[in-house]
């Protein structure tokens, strides 16, 4: 039964997923179990995305489904949800750039792959990255950018992290629109990832996960 739920979610069957969620809540089942199954289903979505079977529309739609399931389940939860995480990542689109499509896909893929993601949003000042890394002790920072103004903003953000004495303890990846390995060199980051799967692979490598 729980396998069915995860599969229905992974197959994006909106009506069935919501119907089944309601039935399971009504039957008095532990709501945590429903969330676990949802997480499993989202994991499958992530795999299908990585395999090139799913694309952005499926990610968006599955995210929306998850949100609806969570809304239904939430009032019935007795304890706060805690999940084990592979590691922590601070993520954001650098100053002067307000694009977030790529940022949110990376956030999504890191999340379904078990990372705790602190997404700072767009047009993020370098000081904010510094503060968040200090606060979370995250070993990984992801810098997103779409347009050319991001080249300098990334460079300046890396410099700020260095000045704050954090650079040696963190790995920095960059990605998005016009970013590539040239920009990685220019900004003095550790890696460039061409898509969300690359971000997951890098993050796993850096935290020593399989």
């Amino acid at each position: 039964m729980s396998g069915d739920f995860a599969n229905l979610l992974a197959d994006l069957k909106e009506d069935e997923v919501l119907k089944l969620t309601n039935e399971r809540i009504k039957s008095g089942e532990d709501p945590m179990k429903i969330l676990d199954d949802s997480r499993e289903g989202m994991g499958v979505v992530g795999e299908r995305f990585a395999d090139g079977e799913y694309f952005l529309p499926e990610l968006v739609f599955s995210g929306e489904l998850l949100k609806q399931v969570t809304e239904l389940v939430k009032p019935h939860l007795k304890q706060a949800v805690e999940t084990k995480r592979l590691g922590t990542i601070v993520l954001g689109t650098v100053a002067g750039d307000i694009h977030d499509i790529g940022l949110n896909i990376v956030d999504f893929m890191l999340d379904v792959n078990g990372f705790e993601v602190h997404n700072l949003g767009v047009d993020v000042a370098k000081e904010k990255f510094v503060d968040k890394v200090k606060e979370t002790k995250a070993p990984i920072v992801g810098l997103s950018g779409f347009l050319t103004p991001a080249f300098d903003a990334m460079k300046e953000t890396v410099e700020a992290l260095e000045k704050a004495g954090l650079r040696d303890n963190i790995k920095i990846m960059i990605g998005g629109g016009q970013m590539d390995d040239e920009v990685r060199k220019y900004a003095n980051a550790d890696a460039f990832g061409k898509d969300a799967m690359a971000a997951v692979a890098l993050a796993k490598e850096w935290v020593g996960a399989k």
Binding site: Y54, F55, P57, V60, L147, T148, F151, D180, E182, V183
Partner: protein, 449 residues
């Protein structure tokens, strides 16, 4: 027409119309007086160079479009923020670049620098620009994506797009139009108008129209400045290469109406409505595309493409949702003898086979990060290609590296004609010698023998 055998415009087929438009482009642009016979000769050589590449005929050498979007502002020691507000600075900076840069095949006038005061007059919320929502030293203006059209508004859009724009969409993106939902649909004016004028008397509605008038006055000043510099460039022998602008219907709906999130939800939750709206928007796009090209300028329309790129959707979704109405816009433009320049942002590697069905030499594809070798293989004998020196290389590399990259591109793409060297996207600042390196490359490696 000079020839008495010449056919009427309506009798021409699309290829003949295109030939005719290219011919008109070659004649002296209205209002332009060439600065010398040398300049006139250069102008014609340059237009011919582009025209032949577009037509897949061998030009004297590979033409080059310099990706110098707002480059002039920074080259002349100013910045985007300043030239968006100060038209004298706009003219000064573009002139300086025009006069000092040296040889090039074309010139981008300042027509893509928007008049900030006009945007401010109507309280434009769809974009942020330097000093207005983003830091003043930012080198670009950027769209604020949002759900400006709600999921349950498809019927309203489909029923009457103009009314939807005026009373629903514009009030959401123009702060000054906040009161416009109180307006009546203009189609309610029938018979002797009795009550229909009342909303136009409301002070906040009137303020909206005042703001629009102010934006209009401001835009006229801006347009005069843009025109002045663009004509000077032509007088010196440098043609412009862009006339109109159009978008793929999926992008219109996804960029500025429903937003990426919204339109992707619609692909699952209301695909029929989405298709119906795309068909409706296609008609609007065709209309505005055709009216944006004059009789004598370059017969070219640039179409910047966004959400159909690799990764954004599957091939099947592309074929279902993106391509049909996009193709409809393309073909309507092509049938009028206008060549769409299809600028595919990101990469288009998985779309090459689908897009190869367009008629020979009817369009030009401008690629950003697409694999040019494969593009040349799949599309090379059908349509002209532009691309794709990486923006990062142009902004952070050396002239030598740029030139070497161009050499490789030319080797792959130039054989048999149908190739124009260009950037992946525009650069805003950096070493002007990196742009000059592109010109050196076409002259050294791009000559057809």
């Amino acid at each position: 027409m000079q020839n008495e055998m010449a056919k009427e415009w309506v009798e021409l087929n699309p290829d003949e119309k295109r030939e005719e438009r290219f011919k008109r482009w070659l004649s002296t642009p209205p209002g332009v007086k060439f600065s010398s016979s040398e300049a006139e000769k250069s102008y014609k050589e340059r237009v011919t160079r582009f025209t032949r590449a577009f037509q897949l005929k061998e030009p004297d050498r590979v033409p080059c479009i310099l990706p110098a979007g707002n480059f002039a502002a920074y080259y002349a020691g100013s910045d985007l923020r300043t030239v968006m507000y100060d038209y004298d600075e706009l003219k000064r900076t573009w002139r300086k670049f025009l006069n000092e840069f040296g040889d090039s095949d074309m010139f981008f006038g300042p027509g893509m620098v928007p008049p900030a005061k006009a945007l401010e007059a109507v309280g434009y919320k769809l974009y942020k620009w330097p000093g207005h929502g983003i830091s003043g030293d930012t080198t670009s203006y950027q769209c604020v994506e949002g759900e400006y059209m709600k999921a349950d508004e498809y019927d309203a859009l489909i029923r009457d797009p103009s009314d939807f724009w005026l009373r629903t969409y514009l009030p959401r993106v123009f702060g000054a139009f906040e009161a416009f939902p109180q307006l009546p649909a203009l189609t309610t004016f029938e018979e002797i108008a009795i009550q229909s004028f009342i909303p136009f008397g409301l002070p906040n509605v009137q303020a909206g129209f005042e703001a629009l008038l102010e934006a209009g006055r401001e835009s006229l000043k801006w347009a005069a400045a843009v025109m002045e510099v663009s004509q000077e460039a032509m007088a010196l022998g440098f043609p412009g290469v862009m006339a109109g602008l159009a978008k793929a219907p999926f992008d219109t709906l996804g960029d500025t109406l429903r937003g990426t999130h919204g339109i992707m939800m619609d692909m699952f939750q209301r695909p029929d409505k989405l298709q119906e709206a795309l068909e409706k928007i296609a008609l609007l796009s065709i209309n505005s595309a055709l009216s944006s090209v004059g009789d004598s300028g370059p017969p070219l329309i640039i179409m910047p493409l966004h959400k159909g790129a690799d990764g954004f959707m599957s091939e099947k979704q592309y074929e279902t949702f993106y391509w049909p109405t996009f193709k409809k816009v393309i073909m309507s433009v092509v049938n009028e003898g206008i060549m769409p320049i299809l600028f595919a942002e990101g990469s288009y590697n998985t779309r090459l086979d689908i897009i190869s069905e367009l008629p020979k030499a009817s369009v030009t594809w401008w690629f950003d990060q697409t694999d040019m070798a494969r593009a040349k293989k799949v599309l090379g004998d059908k349509v002209c290609l532009i691309g794709n020196v990486p923006t990062s290389l142009l902004m952070t590399g050396t002239p030598k590296e740029v030139k070497e990259h161009c050499r490789k591109l030319i080797e792959v793409c130039a054989p048999g004609s149908g190739y124009i060297l260009g950037g992946g996207a525009n650069i805003d600042k950096g070493d002007p010698d990196n742009l000059r390196a592109m010109m050196e490359a076409v002259k050294e490696y791009g000559v057809y023998k």
